[in-house]
């Protein structure tokens, strides 16, 4: 059984329906990417999985359990964490406190300490900046912090929304290296990206999303070489 399996999912905001019967899955150990134009509903998909936007219909099953009726704050405990679009760092908490917030559902102090050290290894700049307030970090540093914070709950599946947005290519490469490394250690990843080329190079499989549904799915390298994808999303 897939780690995450979404079937005919519908959700939206008020009178607006954004997801119109979306289905996708992530197998354990996979990196899966969702690409699509602005406003296709990628962020809404991740927010619905995390429980911040209510699912109106369809199924979200994670690790064998139905998530539809689980409140947002319980979902983290099940092993699902998100680094959201726009980073959403706590601006008036220090870097260290931001990381501690990521471990809010845990109470094994030594384990938390260990994981903070681990994030400092992945992102040494965070160690230098650990006393600084989150709101004063640069965009790239905030992105690293958002990912590190999500990792603090030791998720089985990490949801990443636009981790490359607005960052210099060097930093994007670094962040993608970390994601690859985390995946090698067993964590599954669902990655939403504007930068379709990089995302497809990193991922095992990909989905193409258009106005609330999946229109295409295949192995990442197949999508990379598909002329329709190249024309629409890779700018060739």
């Amino acid at each position: 059984m897939a780690l995450l399996e979404i079937t005919d999912l519908r959700s939206g905001y008020g009178a607006i329906e954004v997801l119109k019967g979306l289905s996708l899955k992530v197998e354990a150990g996979e990196i899966v990417t969702v690409i699509g134009a602005n406003g296709a509903g990628k962020t809404t998909t991740l927010m619905t999985i995390s429980g911040c936007v209510k699912a109106r219909d369809g199924r979200i099953s994670f690790d064998g359990n139905d998530l539809a009726s689980v409140p947002a704050h319980e979902i983290v405990k099940r092993g699902l964490a998100q680094s959201p679009e726009g980073r959403k760092i706590f601006p008036r908490l220090s870097v260290l406190e931001n990381l501690e917030m990521g471990a809010f559902t845990r109470n094994d102090k030594p384990g938390i300490r260990e994981d903070i050290e681990k994030s400092f290894q992945y992102f040494p700049i965070l160690k230098e900046r650990q006393k600084q307030l989150g709101g004063t970090l640069s965009g790239g540093e905030q992105q690293m912090l958002a990912i590190a914070r999500a990792l603090m709950s030791r998720p089985k599946l990490l949801l990443l929304d636009e981790p490359s947005l607005g960052l210099a290519p060097m930093i994007v490469l670094k962040i993608f290296d970390v994601i690859r490394e985390l995946n090698r250690q067993g964590m599954s990843v669902l990655l939403v990206e504007q930068n379709a080329r990089m995302a497809l190079r990193l991922a095992h499989r990909g989905y193409v999303m258009e106005t609330g549904t999946i229109t295409m799915t295949d192995k990442a390298e197949v999508l990379l070489n598909d002329p329709r994808i190249q024309a629409a999303y890779l700018g060739e």
Binding site: H73, I75, T105, A150
Partner: protein, 319 residues
Amino acid sequence: MQPILADGNGGALFWELLVNGLVMGSLFALIALGYSLVYGIIELVNFAHGDLFMLGAAMTYTLTALAVSWFGTVTPGGMSFAIVLGLLLIVPFFCGGANILIDRAVYRPLRRAPRLVPLVSALGVSFVLVNIGQLWIGTSPLSLENKAQLVSDDSLIQMGEVPLKWKDAVVLITVVPVMVGLTWLVKFTRLGKAMRATAQNLVAAQLMGIGVERVIASTFFVGGYLAGLAAVVYTLKIGRIEYQMGFQNGLYAFTAAVVGGIGNIPGAVLGGLLLGFIYSFGGGYSQGNWVDALIFGVLIVLLIFRPTGLLGSRSREKV
């Protein structure tokens, strides 16, 4: 509120007004915290907060009357001490609980509505609470002191020429530990961390696994608790309650919250104290005629030069 009468002795008057300012300031601060905590977390100006304070005063009166009918006459001493303690235990819980209920029934269903909707509802809640107060304690002022002399008129200590009266001491003895406790709660407890995170970014807090609805309910409880506490010590100090007392005190406290920087906890305390001193000195030296003009004059001038209040963050970090 009563103007403070000049007694002709300049130096002593100054010190008396200073003590009075400190005491009134602590009261304003307690109420202001309720505005600020709730605003900090859901950006709602809870206009009904002052009226919750009034209901706390009504509860204080009713419980005192009840105790008197049980025990007979109560004069300062062991029994009155027990009653004051009882009031300080019960009334804050009553107001905290009521505040949770108000949030659950009125504001929570509107959580995702445009900002103006809960704001107007808060005005509605304010009217409802005033009406409840009217039914509960009637329309004419009630004197607690006709029921029981819970706190003596004597001085606790004499500092030179200036007495520190028991009635003022009770306020300070109650407020200071509570402020320390609140600071500890917000800074060091799990709930406090969850409150700060939720205030800074509600969605991110949810993604961290924080039950934000429970945090919001707790915030309403804490705000109501402080209003209840303020209601008890206010009633003990002033000795007189009426159903409209929530409006003026609420307005002062809200002003204090804005002056300090709404959403900011030390700011609410600072704003409360500042307002208390303006209230006391302004009232003392002008026989009470200029208090409101002074307070709102300061508010206007301050907001021109520091629109976010004394301790408010210069820009709200919203990405």
